[in-house]
Symmetry: D2
Subunit: 363 residues, 4 copies
């Protein structure tokens, strides 16, 4: 129990479910004196909001943030910042058929196995809507990171078997913002879009890969041997629904290489120590080295599909079949990008405080 709080000094507690009254987050540990407005959070929530393009679910939620605490005269006051988003367009009727029939790929069965029963309406707290809490926490974290000129950017690098070409770091944010797939490689983006629409038409869904890069992170973040920066990033990213794999830097490619090829050698640039390559993704020995921090996560295809699927009736304890209608995302990757940024931003904010790069009392 009690797994809804993350972070040590920058502590975020989230709550709420897909069809409950509201969702939200309490952000504790943000220093006082940080300028913060509802708009700062709304901007990020709008990026994960559904119904914004033809490749996302049509569920019509405005996801308006309401700040309940933590702000005094437009600045954080050192006390918990609480943001709430009320559910407006929850339609539970579509879920009645699954009351006792767990949907393959969803948490319905595992949550029932744990809690004895389950909020079958839209996945309850197992729903992707719970990432509203992540984004609220991430929005505050990002504002804090801005103080140190740290920027976190996510983009889609793969959809199904379509892989994006490498794009210069400086262009990723801009280019990825120019298409609904949020892929910085415009050519690939178009192909990805077709792939997603094709899956949508078939009532199927497709997976992908989301890369998140943090620029401007100082060397010295991370607390070996257990709270290494890469370890905490891995936990934060793997904890996002539908994520089944995480890489730092070259990740699994390194398994195929030799050290003579992959060791990042050191050199000096304007008295700054840098590495000629960045196979480590900016983290060595669990501590940041000042280079860009690069993470990638594997996102599975959203399990809600309209083909008939085999499952078990938990009440009658007999095998049965279900067919999911509802409103779903044929590929969740685009909408997951702000969530990945939030997850990384929260980890960085926590470690910046733990390592003393930010005054925990006030800006």
């Amino acid at each position: 129990m009690a797994g809804n709080t993350t972070g040590n000094l920058f502590k975020v507690t989230t709550f709420g479910s897909s069809h409950g009254t509201a969702l939200g987050a309490v952000v504790d540990g943000c220093p006082a004196g940080l300028e913060l407005s509802s708009e700062d959070i709304q901007r990020e929530l709008d990026r994960r909001r559904p119904g914004t393009s033809k490749i996302t679910t049509p569920r019509g939620e405005t996801d308006q943030i309401e700040l309940l605490s933590g702000i005094f005269q437009d600045k954080t006051d050192g006390t918990p910042i609480t943001g709430v988003v009320y559910n407006k367009d929850a339609d539970s009727s579509a879920y009645e058929p699954f009351r006792n029939k767990p949907r393959p790929g969803h948490g319905d069965y595992t949550w029932t196995a744990k809690y004895g029963f389950y909020d079958y309406r839209g996945g309850g707290r197992g729903s992707g809507r719970t990432t509203i809490g992540h984004v609220i926490g991430g929005a505050v974290a990002k504002k804090l990171l801005e103080q140190l000129n740290i920027r976190v950017v996510s983009h889609v690098t793969q959809v199904g078997d379509v892989k994006a070409q490498h794009v210069a770091y400086s262009n990723i944010e801009e280019y990825a913002g120019q298409n609904m797939v949020r892929c910085a490689d415009q050519k690939a983006a178009k192909i990805m879009e077709d792939k997603i629409l094709d899956a949508k038409e078939k009532g199927d869904s497709v997976g992908g890969v989301v890369e998140t890069i943090a620029f401007g992170v100082p060397a010295g973040l991370g607390e070996p041997v257990f709270d290494k920066l890469d370890a905490d990033l891995a936990k934060a990213l793997m904890g996002i629904g539908a994520v089944k794999g995480v890489e730092i830097g070259f990740g699994f490619q390194l398994a195929e290489s030799t050290a003579s090829v992959t060791n990042d050698e050191y050199y000096l640039e304007e008295k700054q120590i840098k590495t000629t390559t960045n196979t480590s993704g900016g983290i060595v020995g669990g501590i940041s080295n000042g280079m860009p921090i690069v993470t990638r996560m594997a996102v599975k295809p959203t399990p809600s599909i309209s083909t008939i699927q085999k499952t078990v009736d938990l009440e009658k304890m007999e095998e049965t079949e279900i067919q999911i209608k509802g409103r779903h995302d044929p590929c969740i990757c685009p909408r997951v990008t702000p969530v990945a940024e939030s997850a990384v931003a929260m980890v960085l904010a926590d470690h910046l405080l733990r390592s003393g790069f930010i005054n925990p009392r006030h800006i």
Copy 2:
């Protein structure tokens, strides 16, 4: 600071460095009444011990465990279990040349950036020897898991570009134990061995992949939304030195697939709910579903190689070169297998306690 403790209810704190007086671990939270002896821990330590084959470092350490507390009449007594291993064969001389010259791929520079100076002797606490603490904690965790007939098995599935063929779960432990590479695919093991010896000869090193499977884990483990079982496993595995990627189940393969192919459908087997496939690796929605839990981690090539490498002299702040002699592992994968088992076992022990599957007071 303070990142050397892991777990919430099964809490393991480790200490010690490569060339210090000793290394060890304090295991707090193990229920009383569990039969535990030094042998139980020594057995696991021997599996990670160096100098056991021609593909590991010749550093001659017996790694004898000494139990300082927590055992009363051959059983745990509910108080912290402390195990210590004294360093015997530390040879610091070989490291003098690197006093101010960080070795590429090692934590030398990042630790210095953080702590202001660095124990250059064998990597200090950044050394792989710190995993002695992991293995002590893991050995206690494994004994606890035995009570619930849960078994954790690691094996090497890839070395460089050599990938092992799939081996029946029931044979993995036995087969992997029959070769020094700890690969269950005997044919591949031989090729891997040659690959490692070839790298060793060249003064180079090679990476690989280690798969860890947990059998017999009950459905219901995991604490969404942040302390999901897969999230905690990802943190534990990514936190092991040299690991740069983690997968659960089909991991990155899922990114290329569609839900119609990858959704694990449910069926009944002797009144037990099972899934026809296990692409999820036994974890859905962050909670275990009763199927085998499957994880894989990407291990980078050990950075200590004998070729000349570029680095920076931190004292003179000028570029320079180094050549590493010392005693090293051309491929760390085989020795990492017990560490991976330990990391997974500790996470499972913690979650079994958190979810109430084990009486926290006494067995």
Copy 3:
């Protein structure tokens, strides 16, 4: 930073300030399946609500609870329970004079020293109103304790120099409920009431002692050596605003005694092990022994008084004087009783889960 979460498995995070938008709490870790309604929480909030008698502040707050999450079909669903109370009658005007002039005895100065500035309106988060969060968490904890027939009762045993006579445990709750001072000794209650009204008339305030007793707590709660049950109770009670002392059992009286007098001897009652006396207050060696758990806390006089007081103008950094008008409690003890019950109930709920007396998954 980040000190607004308490508990390990029964985790309560509170937020909000005296004159902000709202106050509330997120309760994480409550098992699923517990019947819980807004009424269960409202009942407790009404007991701490202001304006209920002539010895409390006239601030007119209805303190209506709104549940945002965690309940499904009238039962807890294993996810975070969020309760919010909106401020309705905040009147900041009265506080303008103290914008830069810290009120003696209040946290104004210390909070400013920490956060750089301060929400001078009604004490901001330093206000007693923040205990609304404690009471929400306590209300959920009490419902959980009911499952094990554990009852927590607070009553006022001293106001100024007026001390209550001992009252049989079985009568405390009933008798204390019959007077506005919440003192079980009806005779003393009348004198206490006069003392409080006398102080009120003089624009002064008076302190007191609140005793909290937990009945039905099983033997075996507490986690030595640091998380002892009495240690956690001491932290929870000392953490309540205005509390400056905590005792367990005979407390400071024991300092004057000898062991031959104070040792609680064991005997058998219907095969149950009990102690002939209870000087230990139900906790020995940091672990409960099955006897009633008895705590007492010293409550200082509420610092808001109308006499002229010396202070310092933080802006001009010169000595000055202030006179507080506003609306205040001449003795906070009666209203603190439900807060003390909540603090104790939350600690017990957490330890019952930590010690495995409650299934953490579901009731």
Copy 4:
């Protein structure tokens, strides 16, 4: 379970029991670069060592510290500092009679109720010897506090009904060091000594009060609303064996007073904000105000006495009697003073780090 770690950033984990192999502590989170030697720790251990005067137990332990990790070139290196003390003079024979007969006032019964059985030898981990771990952690904390010129001093202010007169803060440490009772009031010390020897002769024991004062603590320490500085101090002090009451500042005296008398008014002294009185004990609203931090704890008489006492035979489940021989302290207060200092020092070190007054990476 898992209650043997304290602190968030300055994290201390202790282990070991009275008659086991060894006791010790792992201190994690101490910044690198702090000069620290075995002597620094031994000095503190010697102050709590038994057998140093005729009013302490004759158990002959030298309590020699051995440092296993965390020190590099005479300075802390940012990794866990581990200190171990081996038991040398454990005599278990005296405890055989209590194998199944819990001693009144000791944790024997409660630990058995929790763990199913109990290390009856000298109280196992329930023994006062476990405070060796506290003192190791405290010794490191004190070294860290020295960097900020913070001093922590404990002295005995009461033994039985003998109360010490107030002594000027500047003289307490010196005067208390001049007598075996560690009371700064030399006259009272003599009477206390007689009282203790008188109790010893009768095979009885006597309680007392220990006051601990921290000088030089900056304003701004404490994390409301739950991790207030006074709340954490209360937990740390109440967690020490035999402590049954804790006061901050005037504590229980405040319950009898009115705010017009007890409010600490502010004034300026060399541009520093101070209070004319210090009834608050240096903590207001849970945050330090820059004045000396004053705590007092009530210590119960050590329960080991030679008179015949009633108890229950846990095996036969029948009432019986025991008589304790063994070697004991007729008054534990003097030996508890360094433990109280350690408890306070650890809390301050943790909060100095949490509030950013110390660079967590290195001195």
